[in-house]
Amino acid sequence: MSNMQNLYLLVPLAPLVGAIAAGLFGKVLGRTWTHRITISLVAVSFLASLAIFQDVLAGHQYNGTVYKWMTSGDTSFEVGFLIDRLSVMMMLVVTFVSLMVHIYTIGYMQEDPGYQRFFSYISLFTFSMLMLVMANNFMQLFFGWEAVGLVSYLLIGFWYTRPTAIYANLKAFLVNRVGDFGFLLGIGLVLMVFGTLDYASVFANVHRYVNDMAPIPGVSWNLITAICILLFIGAMGKSAQFPLHVWLPDSMEGPTPISALIHAATMVTAGIFMVARMSPLFELSETALSFVMVIGAITALFMGFLGIIQNDIKRVVAYSTLSQLGYMTVALGASAYSVAVFHLMTHAFFKALLFLAAGSVIIAMHHDQDIRNMGGLRKYMPITWITSLIGSLALIGTPGLSGFYSKENIIEAVRLSHLPGSGFAYFAVVAGVFVTAFYSFRMYFLVFHGEERFGKEVHHPSTSSGQAHAPAAHAPVAHVVAHTDAHHPSTGSGQAIAHDDGHSPDAVHEEHHGLAPGQKPHETPWVVWLPLVLLAIPSVCIGFITIEPMLFGDYFKDAIYISHAHHALAEMREEFHGAFAMIFDDLTELPFWLALAGVASSWFFYMKRPDIPAAIKQRFEGVYTLLDNKYYFDRFNDWFFAGGARGASRFLWKFGDVNLIDGVMVNGTARLVGRLSGVLRNMQSGYIYHYAFSMIIGVFVLLTIRTWFE
């Protein structure tokens, strides 16, 4: 067993060593050695996870403390690992995707001066995420939670000279702070009530508090509900659920590999993982589950709509991520934790694939990210094309591919749920299928098929005919977006758009984007396409292989607890007759036809009759503006929260800080202490008889006090 414990330690520590080596000694090591070291250490971590996976499958689990950090009163803060089937699955996903991204980075960041720094960050991220998923207590969970947040912040602002990147990372950080505040309150409540932060002891005692009220003065909330909702607020921040989703699209300012690793495949799923881990808590509160489900449903549907009108290739994928995270959350709300985690896993593969493929396209297009300037890339980039197609098909839930199994089961679980709000959630996830198919294939068609729109002399939308493609109608986009993030000179929304437009002063200074006239894109180097291929394989088949054990077998029986009152999953188990049968059953079901309709209509709108979207847009300008402004969330946040906070801060600064605190308290006490100090200094006269006298006085005083108290 101690061998296994060493292995457990190796999994997070190997990437940490890589991060330290690349971060502190990157200059000495040089580029080649940096990526060799970090990649091999992540590979070690992946192989160790595989070995642990074998061990766990053989029935060994582990829950124990590795290091006792400190004790405060009766509470001890420990570093410990809980290795069960849930965490080992997450470890595999994290290390595998991370390994792919590490390899891919060699190609993507080739010319970047921050090469070593980037490797250091992604290895550090891997470490943090592993600490998060392997935690056996809330403290370590919180550590991992914050650490991934920090790395995400660092990576979104990786190109720290770009104002847009700095704006985006600040935004991500602040929005996550809101979520983390709830999360921390939730953990605090757990500590207060249970007196421990250890998962096992909390879960073991939770049934004793089912009917208790939360110890919050002035309200009468059920304790478990309060804990669950607070914890879920943390998940809303990290997993970008409505209304804390605003940071995720902007996070696309970071380099593409991390969009794949952090903002699609792993970190954003931390919230989903956390809720699944806390299933013994959530199962006891239907209110919390309902809340979770409704939030997820809103995210799933409404964020999908936004994907339809985006023109930045990465943003389309980003909104699709938001929507898919919504799906996972809905599944959590329906008590189908294993389905959520299953979707998390399949999604990790195909979304990482889609992002990396988008990155590959971006490399080929010389960092032009606007899909209106692409088209017909199929014949220039065959590998990227075929892998993207696989990714998109998996995303929309084509029968047989991995996304199909997970999404189909989510819809089924919601249909069987009887919680308040499940009706709305069912509508949202079903409608979402159409939307997903539509925006995915809109992007796919615009990038890989149709007319070749790259390499034009001028990328100015107003010069294009409007017949050939949509951009003419998109001309106001850059302005509108620029308004949205009004406090910043440049827009939060992809500088590719601003660049096209040619007005933005920022864009002018940046290196030239896009292909020169007459230049043709070509397939990217093997370090870039190899990860695509390796990710395409699980995107195709992982669902088919693992559905039976993960959802309907007893793979998760020890890790996830489902109350008998919530029998959606059990009912689904009754109806399940094997992965193959599911494909055929589905051909007669609504979601399949909706997906098909989505693909067909996007083909019709963007390949066959590109004038129709423009016409629709003119007809429904109000709706379009609403979507284009992302439901005015950013503007509201800027005005209300940011503006309000600035106003309040100004008051506190001018009045509270400068007058009261600085004037009276700080400087007042400082003056007092300073004077006292001068007096005491004079008492140190240097005369030995003064010193002796002070000692005698001391003895005398002590004696007097002692004898008085007798």
């Binding site: 290091y67 400190m70 100090s677 200094r681 004696l703 002692r706 004898t707």
Partner: protein, 483 residues
């Protein structure tokens, strides 16, 4: 043979004594100004002592010489740390003393004699042994301070130290004599038993206790018995200051533990009140006076006074937690002090003492690494996380809260806050002010390496304090349980 083998708990002391004699003689026959041979012999002696202490360690408590000498886990840990402190002090101060012609055989012998005194104090379980160790230590220190005969400040410091020390010894002896009168014994355990069974004269006991506490307070440098500290710290050459300010504090801690905790546990309500007064006064006077200092050695002197006040808070809180945290605090204080004085000596050179605050201005421009190490040390002294100083303060306060001394804790925090000012001022001077001199700092490889380790350990222990903390708690527990 059998007699010798019964002496094994004291082998380290015996070995040390033998080696001091060897070194005294060997020094006569080695020539050369640098005293390399003697120096290496001293370091080897310290290494040998450590090995012996580790080898002769055994579980439980062993008494020797008719209960005058005790060997337990606490004594072994404290002794090992004392060897380490003395060894580090020698590495730091070697080139400093060489440049001033003070690195002589006598100095090294006196240092070892002082260490001998420390060891005897740590292992004493009889008031006479305690006093013997104390005097051996003190006399060596008086002589060490006076070693720079031609310096007026050093001799003045030695004189003050000696006279006030003699007064304190008198107080202590007087207290002990009253204790003897009350209980009829000087054996620590027997005293404790006598008090426990109520056979002792209470009034006499308390009277004696006051004098003993006064003597202790002098050794620790607690207010109002602190007046010697700034003058001696300031006047003595920095290396000597470092010797006074480090390992003897471990002995003083052991002294407190043996006399008050082991010997007079039943009187705790009496002495803890007195310690509380001393602690509050020390923290107040130490921290507030330090602000007005321009000489960094003097500032450290007042900072010591404040730190000792903090240590007393741990002791008076009682329990394994309180004593354990006090021991932790003492160890950490020694570690930080070594670094702080080491830094002064690193920056000094022949004919120049880097002992004013101005000498630290702009250190970051002259040597970013040293500035960073000093930053760690200052943060630790101020108690800024994640350095270990924070954890030391935190555990002491924790114990005090657990013992219910809330007002004391509030005052300790307030005075620490005031104290943070003068530590952070050094950081400000190093990083934000322009240097006054651009003279290159000659960095001795050995002391530079040591200060780097010192600074990084301060950081590392702050992040992972668990092991050291549990060592302290266990050793305190073991030496107290069997009484």
């Amino acid at each position: 043979m059998s007699f010798l083998s019964t002496l094994f708990p004291a082998y380290a002391e015996i070995f040390l004594l033998a080696m001091v004699s060897v070194i005294l003689i060997a020094d006569l026959f080695t020539s050369g100004r640098t005293k390399t041979v003697t120096y290496l012999l001293v370091q080897l002696t310290l290494l040998g002592c450590s090995l012996i202490t580790v080898a002769t360690h055994q579980n439980g408590v062993t008494h020797l010489f008719h209960n005058m000498f005790v060997d337990d886990l606490m004594s072994d840990v404290l002794k090992l740390l004392s060897y380490l402190a003395v060894s580090m002090m020698l590495v730091y101060s070697r080139s400093y003393l060489l440049a001033r012609g003070l690195f002589s055989g006598e100095f090294l012998a006196l240092v070892l004699f002082a260490l001998m005194g420390i060891m005897v104090m740590i292992s004493a379980s009889h008031f006479l042994t305690l006093y013997l160790g104390l005097e051996l230590l003190s006399l060596s220190l008086y002589a060490v301070v006076a070693l720079q005969r031609d310096s007026a400040t050093a001799t003045e410091a030695a004189m003050k130290y000696f006279i006030l020390g003699a007064l304190a010894s008198g107080l202590l002896l007087y207290g002990m004599s009253m204790l003897y009168g009350a209980t009829g014994t000087l054996d620590v355990n027997a005293v404790s038993a006598a008090i426990q069974h109520g056979v002792a004269n209470k009034a006499l006991l308390v009277f004696g206790l006051v004098f003993i506490v006064s003597g202790l307070a002098f050794k620790l440098g607690a207010v109002p018995f602190h007046m010697w500290v700034p003058d001696v710290y300031h006047g003595a050459p920095t290396a000597m200051t470092m010797l006074i300010g480090t390992a003897p504090k471990l002995a003083a801690f052991a002294f407190v533990m043996r006399i008050l905790v082991e010997g007079m546990q039943p009187l705790m309500i009496h002495w803890s009140g007195m310690l509380a007064i001393l602690a509050v006064l020390s923290m107040a006077v130490g921290n507030i006076s330090a602000i007005a200092q321009t000489n960094i050695k003097r500032m450290f002197a007042y900072s010591t006074i404040a730190h000792m006040g903090f240590l007393l808070v741990g002791v008076l809180s009682g329990g394994i937690e309180g004593y354990g945290s006090a021991m932790f605090y003492a160890v950490i204080y020694v570690l930080m002090s070594l670094g702080g004085f080491g830094m002064i000596m690193l920056l000094s050179r022949e004919g120049f003492e880097a002992d004013t605050l101005n000498d630290f201005k702009g250190l970051n421009q002259r040597s970013p690494w040293l500035a960073f190490m000093m930053l760690l040390l200052m943060f630790s002294m101020a108690g800024v996380p994640p350095t270990v100083g924070f954890y030391a303060k935190f555990s002491v306060l924790n114990a005090a809260v657990a013992a219910g001394h809330i007002p004391l804790v509030i005052m300790a925090v307030l005075f620490s806050l005031i104290g943070a000012f003068y530590y952070l001022r050094i950081v400000k001077l190093m990083y934000f002010d322009a240097p006054e001199s651009h003279e290159r700092i000659y960095m001795q490889p050995d002391s530079t390496l040591l200060i780097s380790i010192n600074g990084l350990v301060v950081l590392a222990l702050g992040i992972l304090p668990g092991t050291l903390m549990s060592v302290c708690a266990v050793s305190v527990q073991q030496s107290l349980l069997l009484h």
